[in-house]
């Protein structure tokens, strides 16, 4: 049975001595410490002092009110040509209501501009585009003893694309709080148009189900596995590609594994993850991520990160080999009409590497600032287990994030 210990928080200390008969520990909180971190250490320690109470290892950190702000600045390019630029502010709010409710909301606005590629990696005469996307999503969470329920809605709008989504999730915990299960459902309805063709007005819907489990494996290890299956029907063609005919259904299966491990001797936390992805378009991909969190003093942490990605080509993707007519028509396009065909390079076989670095600084009084930089490269030769799709120019992107969070 959960015990609300928020009224029992002692003054912030660096050590905790518990006199409870069940558990006595010197809870020395060392290394990367913030006011929030110390307070949570106290909450955990106080909870441990009462028999049968719970500690928040696998369950969501409910916390108090929160407002977070992020600014993303993104630019990508290919050899000899600057492409897309994006400036995107985002805001997140979390507001506890009464004793057992939380409201979460998030707002994002993307301003996109630049040159987008056409078929394969043709970087010349790319069309100049400009667009703005506004997205909002909100959810309500109900906390009960040993379980949580959430329902949410989301909306995203651009000049040529609108999306509406609804979701529901449930989490529940084992008696000892070492294990948490979660399940979720979501339904998304998209409406696709085109700036080049005002008459285009297509629909697409996706149903998604997810299940997962988080386990406290040891005093320094948390492991999570998850499985997601999504079924979509409707319009998947890219309206800005001259030749792009995709199946009207798409099934996606995603398996994820995450492992958070703390190395006590180094006061270092390593977060790692692996995502396996397969869809009915024929694409198989792997994503591996590693990020160690290094404490620098008591208020600063530095987090380098490495992300590796590899995908195979879709069944209907065609390489830059054209019919007797020439680009963009693939072989057989006139002699025998192809059922599905696409030259979208995102359906090709390639690999990608991201190197990132994040610095987080506790400013005091609940304020946290962070800055992050990432460099992303995509190459056909980096595709795992294959030579990759020919005819793809290397692709580069740099993106920066500035963040400011206030916890109350």
């Amino acid at each position: 049975m959960a015990v609300d210990v928020t009224d029992q928080l002692p003054p912030v200390e660096t050590e905790v001595n518990l006199n409870s008969k069940e558990d006595q520990t010197a809870g020395h909180v060392s290394g990367f410490e913030s006011a929030a971190n110390r307070n949570w250490g106290m909450i955990v320690a106080m909870a441990l002092a009462v028999p049968g109470t719970v500690a928040a290892q696998t369950e969501t950190d409910r916390g108090g009110p929160l407002i977070a702000f992020k600014w993303l600045s993104y630019k990508d390019r290919q050899p000899g040509l600057r492409r897309i630029s994006v400036e995107s502010p985002s805001v997140r709010l979390r507001l506890p209501v009464a004793e057992r409710w939380d409201i979460n909301a998030q707002f994002t606005r993307d301003r996109v501009s630049g040159a987008s590629p056409r078929w394969h990696s043709n970087v010349s005469s790319a069309s100049i585009m400009s667009d703005e996307r506004k997205a909002v999503d909100a959810s309500v969470t109900r906390y009960e003893d040993g379980t949580e329920w959430s329902v949410g809605i989301a909306s995203s709008e651009e000049n040529d694309f609108k999306s509406r989504a609804a979701s529901a999730q449930r989490r529940w915990h084992s008696e000892d709080r070492n294990r948490t299960w979660n399940t979720g459902l979501a339904f998304t309805r998209d409406r696709i148009g085109s700036s080049d063709d005002p008459a285009l007005d297509e629909r697409r819907s996706t149903f998604e189900v997810t299940a997962g489990l988080t386990q406290a494996v040891s005093s320094t290890d948390l492991v999570q596995i998850g499985l997601t299956i999504a079924e979509g029907r409707g319009f998947y063609n890219d309206p800005y590609k001259r030749i792009d005919i995709r199946p009207s259904t798409r099934r996606q299966i995603i398996a994820t594994t995450r492992w958070n491990h703390h190395v006590e001797s180094l006061d270092l936390t390593v977060r790692s993850s692996w995502r396996w992805y397969r869809d009915s378009f024929g694409v198989l991909s792997h994503t591996i991520g590693v990020e160690p969190i290094v404490a620098i003093g008591s208020r600063t942490s530095v987090t380098p990160s490495l992300r590796l990605y590899s995908q195979t080509a879709a069944k209907f993707y065609f390489d830059p080999v054209y019919s007797f007519v020439g680009a963009p028509f693939p072989p057989g396009y006139f002699e025998e009409p192809l059922r599905n065909v696409s030259a979208d390079h995102r359906l090709a076989a390639f690999g990608a590497v991201t190197l990132g670095l994040k610095v987080t600084r506790q400013l005091g009084n609940g304020w946290v600032a962070d800055v992050r930089a990432d460099h992303y490269e995509q190459r056909q030769s980096w595709s795992l287990g294959s030579a990759g799709s020919p005819g793809l120019a290397p692709f580069y992107a740099r993106f920066y994030q500035l963040g400011l969070t206030r916890r109350f």
């Binding site: 929030a36 290892q57 999570q224």
Partner: protein, 96 residues
């Protein structure tokens, strides 16, 4: 999926290296996934209540920075085919 791959190898005619390569890839995926699953519930030392202070640290959260994760997912979804796998919720975009 594993059985169908085995049948392809044994009964589909001449030896096919491409089929063997695909089977090897599937088996490797299964080995990695099962290894991850075997860690859960087979731990040598599940933590007692008084051993969980480290697990409560912010860096040990599975969902550390939701805004950042959402931003990164959007960036990668617009450049790669794979998507999803980070919980439900959130609308789509015309970027993929």
């Amino acid at each position: 999926m594993l059985r169908s791959n085995l049948n392809l190898c044994l009964h589909a005619g001449p030896f096919s290296f491409a089929k063997l390569e695909r089977l090897s890839r599937v088996l490797l995926d299964l080995v990695i996934l099962l290894s991850a699953i075997s860690m859960i519930g087979c731990s040598s030392k599940p933590p007692k209540p008084w051993e969980k202070d480290i697990l409560a640290r912010p860096g040990m959260e599975m969902e550390a920075d939701l805004l950042e994760q959402r931003i990164l997912m959007h960036v990668y979804t617009s450049k790669e085919n794979a998507s999803r796998g980070q919980g439900v919720g959130g609308g789509g975009c015309g970027c993929n």
